[in-house]
Amino acid sequence: MANTKYLVEMKGLHKSYAGGVKPVLQGLDISMCPGDRVVVIGPSGGGKSTLLRVLMGLEDIDKGQLLFQGKNYITTDKYGKTVIDKEIRRNIGMVFQHYTLFPHLNILQNLTLAPIKVRGESKQSAELRARGLLTRFGLEAKEKAYPAHLSGGQKQRVAIARALMLDPKLMLFDEVTSALDPELVAEVEQVIMHLAEQAMPMVIVTHDMHFAKNIASRVIFCAGGVVVEDGPPEQVLGRPKEARTREFIQRVFHIGETEGVGRELSI
């Protein structure tokens, strides 16, 4: 019987672009428990988005293994080609930075396309569930509108609802508020918080440290394609063990050396 203690296990993940010239992930080993809300932080190009994309099965890997609920999800075959179990991939949902709603369909159709066409759900059932989700997110009035007429915050909330329609067991959020105007960020983060309260396991990549602090049960600082530090938010964000982590946190929170070396961040 498969070991289902962990939700996701990543072992020895290696990935590079341009045939090995540009390494992006260099030997990641991460295990995620069912209740985890993991926030991945780090500098640009450090591998955080790539990590998420690999998890979603959007990218090939060079070496390594991913297990989902103890079963083989992503591996490489003897020729080095990536093999992805598409059935397992269906259990994971992802929301991207740039909305990616389908512009030619209205909101309701955006939500119901995948359930109807891929899962064979009936139109009535899918629409009922879709309306329920839209109401939960306060968007029921927009069901017949087209994405072009929604604000950025509304579009992202619809994108989240669309992913939820497929009952994912894990949700991935890739910098979903980075492209939004500041006043629209809160409504999206509220929705994610709401999901967290309903015990949805999630991996979030974000620049918003305050949000990270509020939602994370675990923070991973990823730089140069490796995990530099991995622990509870109070530690990684408040009292980082590693110097590199500390340097990054200080930069992000705009705390300079002149304000006192070794000053502790209040959490």
Partner: protein, 221 residues
């Protein structure tokens, strides 16, 4: 110079007959041309070297030569090459269809590359199969995007159809030239022909602009 516009009304039946042939020819070639053009666009986007090569040469040839020579070639040379007799109408249809397919293939090809990679990622994240993604996400957007340009391609074809008069087909142009020769009233009849073409083509070009605006407004495509 004396102008006698009543000539137009005397011959209105003949002019109407010519117009009907023009419209019929345009309609047939639009349908066949779009269908073939779509297939050619797919060939032009494929990785298969032979498909890509043949379709690229075809499109380059038909866009890089006068439509008149294409028509003459189909009319004078094709029967000889194939060794069978071809009616005027067949030659005209073949020539105009091949021309229409060449220009619409470019329109379709441009619209294919339009749907962003990010939507492709979203499709995977939603578990959409290749078939569903192509049929329900990619193609509808490509068609909507292509629609205004396609309509404008149709107008071009409508105008090029006048060339069949040069190979003796009794379209609007041929009929009006014929009548004007017979009655000695070129100004009235040729102007009438021009006006008829205009009255049909102009609203379509306006519709193209309106359609583009509507699509952009509703869907930001």
């Amino acid at each position: 110079m004396e102008l006698d516009f009543s000539v137009i009304f005397d011959y209105k039946a003949a002019l109407l007959f010519g117009l009907l042939l023009t419209l019929k020819l345009t309609a047939i070639c639009v349908v066949l041309g779009c269908a073939l053009g779509f297939l050619v666009a797919i060939a032009r986007s494929s990785k298969n070297k032979i498909l890509y090569g043949v379709s690229t040469v075809y499109v380059a040839l038909f866009r890089g030569t006068p439509v008149l020579i294409q028509l003459f070639w189909m009319f004078f040379c094709l029967p000889l090459v194939l060794g069978i007799e071809l009616s005027n109408l067949t030659c005209g249809v073949i020539a105009l269809t091949l021309y229409m397919a060449a220009i619409t293939s470019e329109t379709f090809r441009a619209s294919f590359s339009f749907v962003s990679k990010e939507q492709h990622d979203a499709g995977i994240a939603l578990g959409l199969t290749y078939r569903v993604h192509t049929l329900y996400v990619l193609l509808p957007q490509a068609m909507l995007r292509a629609a205004p340009t396609l309509l404008s391609n149709c107008t071009s074809l409508f105008k090029e159809s006048a060339l069949v008069s040069a190979v003796g087909m009794a379209d609007l142009m041929f009929v009006s030239q014929n009548i004007s020769n017979r009655t000695g009233h070129p100004v009235e009849l040729l102007t009438a022909a021009a006006v008829i073409y205009f009255v049909i083509a102009f609203p379509i070009t306006r519709a193209v602009t309106a359609l583009e605006r509507k699509i952009l407004h509703t869907m930001a495509i």
